[in-house]
């Protein structure tokens, strides 16, 4: 079992998906999907322990040796990402039972879970594979299922949001494919390890440089780097609650992971950051992402859209860290990948609780919720504190290391942008807090009660994880530092 764990990690959800489509009743479909998700999560934990114990694990698909055969490889970074993605799914499943039964028609729920399992499989596949083209395959699997998931949202705008994402996402994926194609033309291989070996001789080749450019832009679209972020705002805003939370915690993060693999493992720091000005490009874009995202968030009347713009800014932090191309910078980026997933996931889940009771996520409708939905809003406040980056939360840890990396390199302008964005996050979170705690519910408002415990529990699990990661952070930070060190030095 253990030796096949890598491939089972992907195969189980992948096979589970079509099986789920045949399950007749919605609740059974949920049960099946939960079982699959928790299996995937258990497997990711096993992999993590194995990698921690004995180093990176490789696996040749179908026993065909690389570089012709497809290779799967899991090192510390991949293992951690696997735990993150499957963990977000696992925590969210109890939530999905209640929220999806309200947001999607009974007849379509089996299809929903099918698409969800496909998405999960796609994301997990992107992480484990060590073959550049295989990444594209899983990228498309996860993207196509994501478009469907978003389209299943209740709002009339969900379909439009899904279509917008489909167009832009396909462009992104196509760019990535073009880039990989260019690499294949010049090197004859698709295996990442092999590419890493062959590419250093080809650094002067303009085809290779173009390949990196295409791949980077394609991925940048997928992880919503400014100015390629426009699809994110609608997609997160109009998707079903569970989908928004799951995507916020996983989709962009996995694309960032692929970026790290391509840039550091395949191309190498020297080529990407010294021969080519990738660092400068990312720094500039991250600078704007951080400011624009936070600034626009302040003016959003729809709380989910506000959180989506906030995500744009937070992704800016991650890219900023990576753009420094130093161990400190990449550490900060890695930490924020995890911490943001925890914080944003929690926030979207909480907003989903509100949507469950109110049927709306407009800021206006949050009036007086502090009194009527105390546990929900308390979870919101605590997750928001992590987002803002105040002490004892996960967000503080990644913010500290980002500050450290920026100060260490003397990047004062970027530091000022990060500080401004933190203060702006205070403003847009403050709007929600003021509405919830300082205003009274009007008689013509929808009657509310506290959210059902099955919705609250996953929210609070994530909130507590935020606090735990904020307090017992030492080990996680050590791991991140080690991974960053290896990425920056050797690429593996």
């Amino acid at each position: 079992m253990l030796q096949h764990a890598i491939v089972l990690q992907v195969v189980i959800p992948l096979l589970g998906a079509p099986l789920c489509a045949f399950v007749p009743r919605a609740k059974l479909a949920w049960g099946f999907a939960t079982l699959v998700t928790w299996c995937a999560f258990a497997m990711s934990l096993m992999l993590l322990m194995q990698v921690n114990h004995s180093g990176a694990v490789t696996y040749a698909l179908g026993n065909w040796a690389p570089p012709i055969g497809i290779e799967y490889r899991v090192d510390m970074l991949s293992a951690a990402m696997l735990v993150l993605v499957s963990g977000m799914g696992a925590v969210g499943m109890p939530y999905a039972l209640v929220s999806i039964s309200k947001e999607i028609e009974e007849t379509k729920q089996s299809l929903f879970y099918t698409m969800y399992l496909l998405c999960l499989a796609g994301l997990l596949g992107m992480i484990v594979t060590h073959d550049a083209f295989n990444v594209f395959v899983f990228l498309e699997i996860s993207s196509l299922s994501t478009y469907t998931l978003i389209a299943l949202g209740k709002s009339r705008r969900s379909l439009f949001a899904a279509f917008e994402y489909l167009v832009l996402g396909t462009i992104g994926a196509t760019f990535y494919l073009i880039g990989v194609g260019l690499l294949y033309i010049k090197t004859g291989t698709l295996n990442m390890g092999d590419l890493a070996r062959l590419l250093p001789e080809l650094w002067d080749n303009s085809t290779i440089k173009t390949a990196l450019a295409f791949i980077t832009i394609g991925l940048a679209l997928k992880f919503a780097l400014f100015p390629l972020h426009l699809w994110l705002c609608n997609a997160y805003a109009y998707a079903p609650s569970f989908v928004s939370a799951f995507l916020a915690g996983t989709a962009t993060k996995v694309s960032l992971y692929v970026l790290l693999r391509i840039v550091f493992t395949v191309f190498g720091l020297q080529f990407a950051f010294q021969e080519l000005p990738l660092g400068a490009l990312f720094m500039a874009l991250a600078f704007f992402a951080v400011l624009v995202g936070s600034f626009v968030a302040v003016f959003q009347p729809n709380v989910k859209r506000m959180l989506a713009y906030s995500s744009v800014a937070q992704i800016g932090y991650i890219v900023m860290g990576i753009s420094l191309a130093s161990q400190a910078g990449v550490t900060a980026g890695l930490l924020h990948i995890f911490n943001h997933a925890l914080a944003k996931g929690a926030l979207f889940l909480v907003v989903g609780c509100v949507f469950y009771r109110l049927g709306s996520v407009q800021l206006e409708d949050f009036r007086g919720l502090g009194k009527h939905m105390p546990f929900t809003m308390a979870a919101f406040v605590m997750a928001a504190i992590s987002l803002i980056g105040l002490p004892l939360t996960a967000g503080f840890i990644s913010k500290w290391y980002l500050f450290d990396a920026l100060i260490g390199e003397g990047r004062w302008l970027l530091l000022a942008a990060v500080i401004t964005s933190s203060l702006l996050s205070l403003v847009y979170i403050g709007r929600v807090v003021e509405m919830a705690y300082f205003k009274e519910r009007q008689p013509h408002d929808v009657a509310v009660a506290e959210a059902p415990w099955m919705l609250l529990l996953p929210c609070w699990v994530l909130v507590l994880l935020n606090l735990g990661a904020g307090i017992f952070s030492a080990q996680g930070v050590d791991v991140a530092t080690r991974i960053a060190g290896r990425l920056v030095d050797g690429g593996m």
């Binding site: 504190i385 980056g389 105040l390 002490p391 004892l392 840890i397 500290w400 500050f403 450290d404 100060i407 260490g408 530091l415 500080i419 933190s422 203060l423 205070l426 403050g430 003021e434 705690y437 300082f438 904020g470 307090i471 017992f472 952070s473 030492a474 930070v477 050590d478 530092t481």
Partner: protein, 481 residues
């Protein structure tokens, strides 16, 4: 024992939040917890001078650490003792004014005290920063307690200024320090070394001074008058004692134990602070002169008094630092008396403005007596505690030849007299005006007994601190080294 100082108020907060339906029991918890806390702190003072606790490592090599240290003891003794008195006072105030959401009030109050203890006993800059931020957050619900539009706006100013300074300036300074020295532990003599250039230290110093927004130095002082919208017990304990003292405490700790007083003198950095602080002293007093709202006047007086402390620290002189540490206690006890009196006046008569206080001395003799004691302490007249601080600061400045400080002290004392003494005269020697302002209780007596008791206790302590300053003076000496 050290951890108990945190656990007691935290546990109290938890228990209080459950006791909403039994107000007497709930209040008993506050009183019991505050007494227990004070006992614990006193035990630390007597026995636990060397107590240290190291918790989980938040960053590489920097754990959440607590350590007992003289300055921290001053702060903790003052805060915990005054919590007992304020609890008594709050019972009277909240019930007489029929305030809403009292459970929430007492719970957040206890949490704020826990944060104050965390600040007092922080063993390194990271722990201090953590509890400093938490104090800001825990006091926010107290500032915005009434839930009105005005309190919401005040809350925005409060949170906005305090978080902007702490995230934008203080955190940067702390991370820089960590980057430069690799440690954040409070060490006598500071943790800086000569390899760090004077320019860097100068910038770091600036970031630290303005990063600690709770010192209410100009121009980041606006949060303090804004916070006066809170119920008076909040203004009394938190904004006369805990929060503002946390500010100057943090600044003194940073100057003495992170940057190092002698190091700063050697490098010649930070000379500008004396002038900024001195300007704040004078300007705040001038603004106080023009205030008609009693609490706002007291707020500006607090800004001025805090600036005394900052000015003292800024001279980098040993005796002045001693005064700064001592004034944490002296000002705290005097100011809380003044705020208690203001709250008593409001409770008894609904009056908030100076112009309405004519002849109130006859109706509220005890309250006004206490007010007079507090006012005289601010002006620094013996036998009030404030006299000791000002006298020693004056003598230290004179010896050092620091005529700016001397001048500032003289001018500001005159200004203090100009805005405090008229209130006393108005209260005692002017007849009551017959103009009835809506909302005021025209025919009223003294404030509720429990509030008067609290007032008298703090007033007597103000005098007591003058007569027996030994404990605090001894601790202050040890801070200055």
């Amino acid at each position: 024992m050290l951890l108990l100082t945190l656990i007691i108020p935290l546990a109290a907060a938890a228990v209080i939040s459950l006791l909403g339906r039994w107000p007497n029991l709930r209040e008993a918890v506050s009183l019991f917890a505050s007494s227990a806390l004070f006992y614990a702190v006193v035990q630390l003072y007597i026995y636990g001078r060397e107590a240290v606790y190291q918790g989980v490592e938040l960053l590489r090599g920097v754990p959440i650490a607590f350590a007992v240290e003289p300055l921290g003891l001053i702060f903790a003794l003052v805060a915990s003792f005054l919590w007992i008195v304020t609890s008594l006072y709050s019972i009277g105030y909240m019930r007489s004014n029929k305030e809403y959401n009292q459970t929430r009030f007492y719970a957040w109050f206890a949490l704020s005290l826990a944060c104050a203890m965390g600040i007092a006993f922080a063993g390194n800059l990271l722990t201090l920063f953590i509890f400093y931020e938490m104090l800001t957050l825990c006091t926010y619900p107290l500032v915005t307690h009434s839930g009105t539009e005005a309190s919401k706006k005040a809350g925005r100013t409060y949170l906005g200024i305090l978080l902007a300074t702490s995230v934008g300036l203080l955190l940067v300074a702390v991370v820089c320090t960590w980057n430069l020295t690799g440690t954040l532990t409070f060490t006598p003599g500071g943790i800086m070394n000569k390899h760090i250039g004077a320019g860097t230290i100068a910038i770091l110093f600036f970031l630290y001074v303005y990063g600690v927004g709770k010192t209410a130095l100009m121009p980041i002082h606006r949060w303090l008058p804004a916070a006066m919208v809170a119920p008076t017990p909040v203004s009394a304990l938190l904004h006369a004692v805990a929060v503002v003292k946390a500010g100057v405490f943090t600044l003194i700790k940073i100057v003495v134990y992170i940057l190092g007083v002698d190091f700063l003198k050697e490098i010649g950095v930070g000379g500008w602070l004396v002038y900024v602080a001195g300007a704040t002293v004078i300007l705040a007093s001038l603004i106080a002169l023009r205030q008609d709202n009693l609490k706002r006047l007291l707020a500006y007086s607090t800004i001025s008094q805090l600036a005394y402390i900052v000015m003292a620290v800024a001279t980098f002189a040993k005796e002045a630092i001693m005064v700064a540490a001592f004034h944490i206690a002296a000002h705290g006890i005097g100011k809380i008396t003044l705020f208690f009196a203001a709250g008593a006046i409001y409770t008894a008569s609904k009056k908030k403005r100076l112009s309405e206080l004519a002849g109130i001395g006859k109706r509220m003799p005890w309250t006004m007596a206490a007010f007079t004691v507090g006012a005289l302490s601010m002006v620094a007249v013996p036998p009030m505690a404030g006299f000791l601080s000002k006298w020693h600061l004056l003598s230290s400045a004179w010896e050092e030849g620091n005529y700016f400080v001397v001048g500032t002290l003289v001018v500001s004392t005159m200004l203090n007299v100009m805005y405090f003494m008229p209130i006393v005269f108005l209260a005692y020697f002017r007849p009551e005006t017959t103009v009835h302002v809506t909302g005021n209780l025209h025919d009223h007596g003294e404030a509720p007994v429990i509030m008067v008791i609290a007032l008298m206790v703090t007033a007597l302590c103000t005098i007591g601190l003058f007569v027996w300053p030994g404990v605090f003076w001894g601790l202050a000496e040890r801070v200055a080294g």
